[in-house]
């Protein structure tokens, strides 16, 4: 009797384990799986090329005037961050789309200093790093990408395009006393808001006649 009970116990166990394994695994030919993976390999540079003009720059057309933004940040940072900033997740870092016009004060090795009214801002021309342009745009969302590395590579591709196409043409022509129109991204920390040193990563730079 006891033997029979133990036998039934083991049999039930084996059946449950069998059902669990059957519903846990599936098998495919490896070459088929690898071929499928290659078909969907991610190309960040191609994506950025595709979206640069019609989507990315178009989004920056609706950027907030930087002087208006800075005034709002001075008077009510909380609601300005809430209304204007893009953020990747929770935290104090916010990314803003900004535009404006200013007179060139200084041509520095790493940036161009512009005067906008009583405020001076730096247009970065050397160290184009980080995710400010990608995240300020609000176009590219992490949840749309399976791999974090794919998501990060979009920023690399955007920054690379700015370094190779936006900056050199501008630096070659700009001189002090020029008036420059710019669009770009600004990264600010709500908890340590420093509005005395504003650094904009440009997506578009024009020397006005």
């Amino acid at each position: 009797m006891i033997m029979m009970k133990t036998g039934v116990k083991y049999a039930v166990g084996v059946v449950i384990a069998g059902i669990a394994v059957y519903n846990s695994l599936y098998f495919r030919p490896l070459d088929e799986k690898l071929a499928e993976g290659q078909e969907i390999a991610f190309d960040a540079t191609a994506l950025v090329e595709e979206m640069w003009g019609n989507e990315l720059l178009a989004v920056y057309d609706s950027a907030t005037d930087i002087r208006v933004l800075l005034e709002r940040l001075k008077s009510d940072p909380e609601s300005t961050f809430e209304q204007e900033a893009q953020a990747l997740g929770i935290g104090n870092i916010g990314y803003f789309k900004v535009k404006g016009e200013g007179k060139v004060l200084e041509l520095n090795e790493n940036n161009v200093l512009l005067q906008l009214g009583d405020q001076s801002i730096e247009i970065e021309t050397e160290f184009i790093f980080g995710n400010a342009v990608r995240d300020a745009s609000g176009l590219i969302r992490i949840n749309d990408y399976d791999e974090t590395s794919d998501f990060n590579s979009i920023s690399e591709a955007i920054n690379d395009k700015i370094r190779k196409e936006v900056i050199p043409a501008f630096r070659a022509k700009v001189s002090t006393e020029n008036t420059v129109s710019f669009k770009g991204a600004l990264e600010l920390n709500k908890a340590h808001l420093n509005l005395s040193q504003i650094e904009v990563i440009p997506v578009s730079l024009q020397i006005l006649p």
């Binding site: 669990a20 846990s24 030919p29 490896l30 949840n143 399976d146 791999e147």
Partner: protein, 324 residues
């Protein structure tokens, strides 16, 4: 002379009072604490600690300790995510073995159980102190996690798996359901089964338990296996919630688990304590964490305050013990 049952009731009552006053204070001091959204947010956040702490309670009840649960959590989360995303490739047989969500959940539990078994085996077979054996596993599991993930997060695990961490079922978040089931199972295990009575007996007096014929080594190994599996459930919840297995997940989670157990009235000397006390302890820690964030207290001060709360809990535990 206070009986074991009465001691547990006193400890739970103290935890309940502490939780009540903490909630009242936070309700008065912040605008957002007493909201439905924040309630579920806190419950979701403590779910992981509840799972780990339940395992830690079983271990501490046997007068042991498990420092490896945070690393096991990370490893099991990584194994789960890796198998779900990449499966197993066997080039020599031109075979790809894919895993369903059920498959990776079972694989994660198996991995956690295996690591717990190694802990338990080292402690019982080679008489390695639990502190040292689990400290070694803490390092090993973290190393295995880094090797498995190559130091990078594994992301994009799909909605079906994400449902375990972010989904709602019958008006309650899935992590709360899962941790609730874990708690009910653990309460039944510790109060209604022979295995549970053995755990208390071993922690109360190991020699007496041995002389009574309790298979101490077997029970201890199973306790560490269960602790490992519960850490794995914590790993599944974290990974599903973040849709990402982070190689540095679970850092210092063992300390929060030990804190929840101690605050919940379980004696570090073993043999005394309850699962429900631990749940209250985890809730106190969760509410405290949430309240300190809502009050915008610096993370550095948060650590200090949590340390003081743990110290107070141990002092109260000691004073309760003296009155026995």
């Amino acid at each position: 002379m206070i009986s074991l049952k009465k001691y547990s009731h006193i400890a739970q009552f103290q935890s309940l009072i502490a939780l009540f006053f903490l909630c009242m204070a936070l309700a008065l001091m912040t605008d957002n604490f007493m909201t439905t959204d924040n309630f579920w947010n806190v419950m979701r956040q403590i779910s992981v600690n509840v799972c780990i702490s339940v395992g830690m309670t079983l271990v501490i009840l046997t007068a042991g300790i498990d420092l490896s649960v945070g690393s096991i959590l990370a490893f099991c989360g990584a194994v789960t995510a890796g198998l779900l995303k990449y499966g197993i490739e066997i080039p020599s047989a031109n075979l790809y073995i894919g895993f369903t969500v059920l498959g990776v959940v079972l694989a994660g539990l198996l991995a956690g159980g295996a690591m717990g078994f190694i802990n338990g085996y080292a402690i019982t077979r080679f008489k390695v102190p639990a502190f040292v054996a689990t400290l070694a596993m803490l390092t090993m599991a973290r190393g295995f996690t880094m090797l498995w993930t190559e130091g990078h997060p594994i992301t994009g695990l799909g909605d079906e798996f994400g449902f375990l961490g972010t989904g709602w079922f019958l008006g309650m978040p899935m992590p709360v359901w899962i941790s609730g089931i874990v708690v009910i199972a653990a309460v039944i295990l510790t109060t209604k089964t022979r295995f549970g009575r053995y755990i208390y007996a071993i922690g109360g007096n190991e020699n007496a338990a041995r002389l009574s014929g309790i298979p101490i080594n077997k029970i201890k190994v199973w306790v560490y296996v269960l602790a490992g599996m519960l850490a794995a459930i914590g790993g599944l919840l974290v990974t599903a919630r973040l849709d990402s297995a982070q190689p540095n997940a679970g850092m210092s989670y063992e300390l929060d688990a030990i804190a929840a157990v101690v605050i919940g009235g379980t004696s570090l000397a073993g043999g005394r304590g309850t699962i429900l006390g631990t749940v209250l302890g985890a809730m106190i820690i969760g509410v405290l964490n949430n309240g300190l964030v809502l009050l915008d207290v610096s993370p550095f001060w948060q650590q200090v305050i949590k340390g003081i709360v743990i110290l107070l809990a141990v002092i109260i535990d000691k004073s309760n013990s003296k009155s026995e």
